[in-house]
């Protein structure tokens, strides 16, 4: 017999997180909830005299499957939020009624089952091994084919081989310069700025903000302080010292500036 306490703990530990599949918005939250369900199921297996499966459950599901899910979630963007408004007419009702119907029917069927559980307890790993490599050995063999198929399939769909020859560091750098990138390192954020902070763009010698000096992450989060914002703050300030920029750089609003090398040729 199984302890009722265990059952109820498992029931709550699985059903409640599982409901996040229907109601939670963030995929990551759902994935973590499912991890919880998997752990709950592992507990159930142990309670049902299947310790081997309990361990396998933890290893395979929480350890591998769900981690793979999380991995892919991160790949496609952890921050994905799902709009839960329904787009297909009536889909929500159909879903609840059919799923509810399935649950109702299965429970009504199972509720009337009266099989007395056997007292015999089986389930230690050695016994499982005997069955696994005895009666089910052919299935084991075929699973090999299954796993090869899965691996080959995943490789085909995701692996991109090197299509261009590997480039050396100097080639990379040469290409960058050719493409018009700064030959030297990008300025650090906060350089020449009023604020020595990561969210403030650097300024070039002319005082213009260099927007790409700030991390893209901050940019995506809209946590970057805008260069223009500083410019206006600079213009509006009454402190004369402020107009005197350090290192003698020309002021931001000055129209006159010395042309850069190369610009002259274009004129």
């Amino acid at each position: 017999m199984v302890s009722p306490v265990l059952f109820w703990v498992v029931a709550i530990l699985t059903v409640v997180p599982a409901l996040s599949l229907l109601f939670a918005r963030k995929a990551v939250h759902i994935a973590m909830s499912i991890v919880c369900v998997m752990v709950g199921l592992a507990a159930a297996y142990v309670g049902l005299d299947a310790p081997f499966l309990g361990v396998v459950q933890i290893v395979v599901y929480t350890g591998a499957v769900m981690m793979l899910f999380l991995f892919v979630l991160m790949l496609v963007g952890v921050d994905q939020r799902e709009d839960t408004r329904e787009t297909i007419k009536g889909q929500r009702w159909i879903a609840f009624f059919t799923a509810g119907g399935i649950a109702f029917l299965l429970i009504s069927v199972l509720g009337r089952v009266s099989i007395a559980p056997q007292a015999a307890r089986v389930g230690n790993p050695e016994e499982i091994a005997l069955v696994l490599f005895g009666r089910y050995v052919l299935v084991m063999e075929v699973l090999g084919a299954l796993l090869i198929t899965a691996a080959v399939g995943a490789l085909i769909m995701t692996h991109t081989p090197r299509l261009t020859p590997r480039r050396t560091q100097s080639e990379v750098q040469a290409a960058r310069v050719l493409a018009g990138a700064d030959p030297v390192n990008k300025p650090m954020p906060g350089v020449f700025a009023r604020h020595n902070a990561l969210d403030v763009p650097a300024r070039d010698p002319e005082g213009k903000p260099i927007e790409h000096s700030v991390s893209r992450v901050l940019e995506a989060r809209h946590q970057m302080s805008d260069g223009d914002e500083f410019r206006t703050r600079l213009e509006n300030t009454s402190n004369p010292e402020d107009s005197q920029l350090p290192n003698g750089a020309p002021s931001a609003d000055s129209d006159e500036r010395t042309p850069r090398i190369g610009e002259e040729d274009q004129k």
Binding site: I88, Q91, I94, A95, T98, A99, G101, I102, L105, L106, S108, V109
Partner: protein
Amino acid sequence: MLTLTWLLIAVPLASAAVLLLAGRRADAWGHWLGVAASGTAFVVGFVAFLQMLGLESEERATSVHLFSWIPGGELNLDAGLLVDPLSMTFVLLITFVGTLIHVYSVAYMEHDADRRRFFAYLNLFVAAMLLLVLADSYLLLFVGWEGVGLASYLLIGFWNFKREYATAANKAFFVNRIGDLGLIFAMGLMFSYFGALDFDSVLSQAPEATTAQLTAIGLMLLLAACGKSAQFPLQSWLGDAMAGPTPVSALIHAATMVTAGVYLIVRSAPIFNGAPNAQVVVAAVGAFTLILGALIGMAKDDIKKALAASTMSQIGYMMLAAGLGPIGYAFAIFHLVTHGFFKAGMFLGAGSVMHAMNDQVDMRRFGALKGAMVVTWVTFGLGWLAILGVPPFSGFFSKDKIIEAAFVGEGWQPWVFGGAALIGAGLTAFYMSRLFFMTFHGKARWTDEVHPHESPALMTVPMMILAVGSAFLGLFLAMGDRFTHWLEPVTGHAEHHEPVLPVPVLIALTLILVAAGGLLAWLRYGRAEVPETAPSASLATLAARNDFFQDSVNRAVVQRPGQHLTRTLVYVDATVVDGAVNKQARGWAGLGEASRRLQNGQVRSYAATMLVGLVIVVAVIVVGGL
């Protein structure tokens, strides 16, 4: 030789295969190969026929085993041929008339770049039709049945690379499929009742089955026959079939295709003998179609469409005869044979006329062609006399027998069926004479650019041979009831019954009606001027038209009610029957469009479909189990 009858099918089939596969290389000689194949089939058939004549009448049925076709536990079916007087009659008709049409086509299709392909299809058609009549089981018959259908589409569509013809062919296919359904259902019923599909087992077990079973099978066979033989309500495809080259029409109407339905019914005689109700329905369908066809024939100005309507009507006679039971079977086939000759002759004549008139088909543009095309005029005229039933030409002997047989019986039946057959004879006389006079007599109403001329010998010789048949075949076969005795092993011996009216009276009545019909037509279309455009339908214009005294009588007595009836029936034909087909097609398509919404491209909806199905099934199981 009887065991070599498989050559009948194999030779044209092989020829068709050669012609199709050889491609352009065979363009030079392909048509002659086609003629030779058909001719060889005729020779084989004729030799077998002579051999069969040498046998006692009980021994004339021979089974030719070909190969084991579908082996199986319950149903073990071999592919085999049944050569007996009935199938031999058809073989001779198909190969003889078919060969003549082949010869004719050599000249008729001379300028067509695809003549070789045309002959391949003709050969295919002949082979399929021979398979149909020689098969020894319903299933093998069905193979030929579908083959005929397929070949006819290839031929009907031969000239038409236009979309509207394609849709017409599609519709024709659909109508024919309804007929095919009948045959399939009939086979299903036979299989479940008798556990067999070969003629031998089915027909020998038929007397032991219940009337209800036989009636069901009979009605399904009738549906099949209606589809192929263009009987009401599945007649509408016949008009579409006119789109093909004229030799095809001749082949379809005279020797192949439309005769298949009559063959099916006569072949299944033991089934119908046990199902009187089904027989009455067959006769009724025949009687109705013969009148309907005649009325439609009156309304057509297109020479080929008028001839097509006449085919419908004449096949109606055959169906009527077949529905009368043992007394009618032999006459049905007799009429089929004579009809095969005169109708083929007339179609070839029509083709000759069209050849001369730059493919013009509107009879209002013909007239006075007898001078320009003497041979065509004479041969067509013999066919015309034959279809009218003027003694001593062929049609008289065959049609008159059917009219007599229709008057046999008790209660209302002889009066209705006999009456229909009698009236039909009068109507036939009217519209066929109309056709004849409008084409060959009266004033020339040709358009300017045509210069009628007689067709080449390759075309006229077949017409002459057929004309000889139209003239004398009936007399030859009727003498001493030769034909009836010949078919007796298959159709059974029919007791002689007296019609409800004395035979001489019937003959006299028939001839009077025929004469009246012919005379009316002469007055309207031979002597009088025929307007070059069809008269419009409104009563006002009718009243305004030239008003001879005879015409008024004519119009009041025959024409006006006739016209209304004709119009109504043609309207019914065009809207209700065609409409039903179209509507049905639309209905299916509408259902498709509606179900299409289920497949909305959303995988979640797909999953929902699955789950809903699952829930329903489980719910039924669980609720049923509680």
